[in-house]
């Protein structure tokens, strides 16, 4: 069929078909391209805003954590200072106690030593007295036992004196 319409015709059939085709192309654009791209753009928008809100949340959480840690750190510092001061006080007290104890002990020791010295000197004195008495008694006996001339007398006294000297040196 080699037929042509006239160069400029108004053909109702062609107009109708063109309208239908235009409608179909419109539907293709609307339902395929625009609908899908709109959906993906909306989804991306949603993702972006959710990412932003997540980032904001994370930032807020990080800030609150930071504050919490700062507080905890300050608390720890305070506690440490308190501990140190407490330990210092305790050490001071203990040191004081030790020193005072040592002092008491030293005083005791000194006192005891003094007492012992006293006692010993008393004992020594008593012992000396006893010996002197004994010697005097002995001398008296000796004198009584024999006649004593002047020379013997002098010798006896000298012996006696010597004896006392050695006794005194010994004690």
């Amino acid at each position: 069929m080699n037929l042509n319409l006239d160069f400029l015709t108004i053909d109702v059939g062609t107009i109708l078909f063109t309208l239908i085709n235009t409608l179909l192309i419109f539907l293709a654009f609307k339902l395929i391209l625009f609908k899908r791209v709109d959906a993906i753009l909306a989804k991306r928008q949603q993702e972006v805003s959710s990412t932003y809100s997540k980032a904001d949340d994370a930032l807020a959480a990080a800030n609150s954590d930071k504050e919490k840690y700062a507080q905890a750190l300050a608390g720890a510092k305070e506690e440490a200072a308190e501990l140190i001061s407490r330990a210092e006080k305790k050490a001071q007290l203990e040191g004081d106690l030790i020193i005072s104890e040592a002092r008491t002990e030293a005083a005791d020791v000194r006192e005891k030593a003094a007492a012992a010295t006293e006692r010993e000197s008393v004992q020594a004195k008593q012992a000396l007295q006893g010996e002197i008495t004994d010697l005097a008694m002995e001398l008296a006996q000796k004198i009584m036992e024999k006649e004593i001339d002047k020379e013997d007398h002098d010798r006896l006294i000298e012996d006696f004196m010597q004896e006392i000297g050695t006794e005194g040196e010994q004690s």
Binding site: M1, L5, D11, T14, I32
Partner: protein
Amino acid sequence: MQISDFFRGSPDGIDVKGPGVLLSFDIGGLTINLTETIVISWGILLAVTLLLLWLTKDLKTNNISKRQVAAEWIVSTVYGLVDDTMGKHWHSFAPYIAALFTFSITGSLVSMLGLRSVTADFNAPLAWALVTFVLIHGTNIRTHGIGGYLKGYIDPVPVMLPINVLSEVSTPVSMSLCHFGNVVSGMVITSLLYFALSAVTKAVGVAFLTIGVPAVLSLYFDLFSGFMQAFVFIMLTMAYISNADGRNEA
């Protein structure tokens, strides 16, 4: 054919014909001619649908493919154009504008595949202009009410009625004829050029002009003119409809 034939007029003549009729049948007294225009439109419809399906295959929110960049660019560009020209409340009109532009430009560009341009058939731009016409008056009635719409015809004075009616009717006529005229004149000029070039080739015996020259001219008449007419058509459609929308007057 000699080169002198070109000046005398060819015995064959240069015959610019309308679209070929592939099949013709009657439905209830109305003769439906299955013309080249209709069949090529179906091809365009199929190709555009497949292209759109391919463009929007597995869209993702991040790490997107170049294909998706293209798809998003098309959508956002059309949205931007419609929002700028018609206002935000016509946002949902964007798919029609995209469809109209695509149909018009591909309808003109099929000539580069050696097919007859859809838009070189007056009925195609006429159908689109009629859609625009209906949308203009529908929008006008919707925003001004039927009374306000009818009152618009006797504005500013009742004497203006015939002029106003003429002005309204001329809108689709001028739109469709503008589009049709531009495309068909390109087609006619290209036909004339081929005729002239083949006459020159026959006279000279070397086919040096038939290669190159038609390509350059085709670049203007098919590509540039096709793009311009599609763009003008959608801009006029948006401007007229937006103008009829009372919300834009404030």
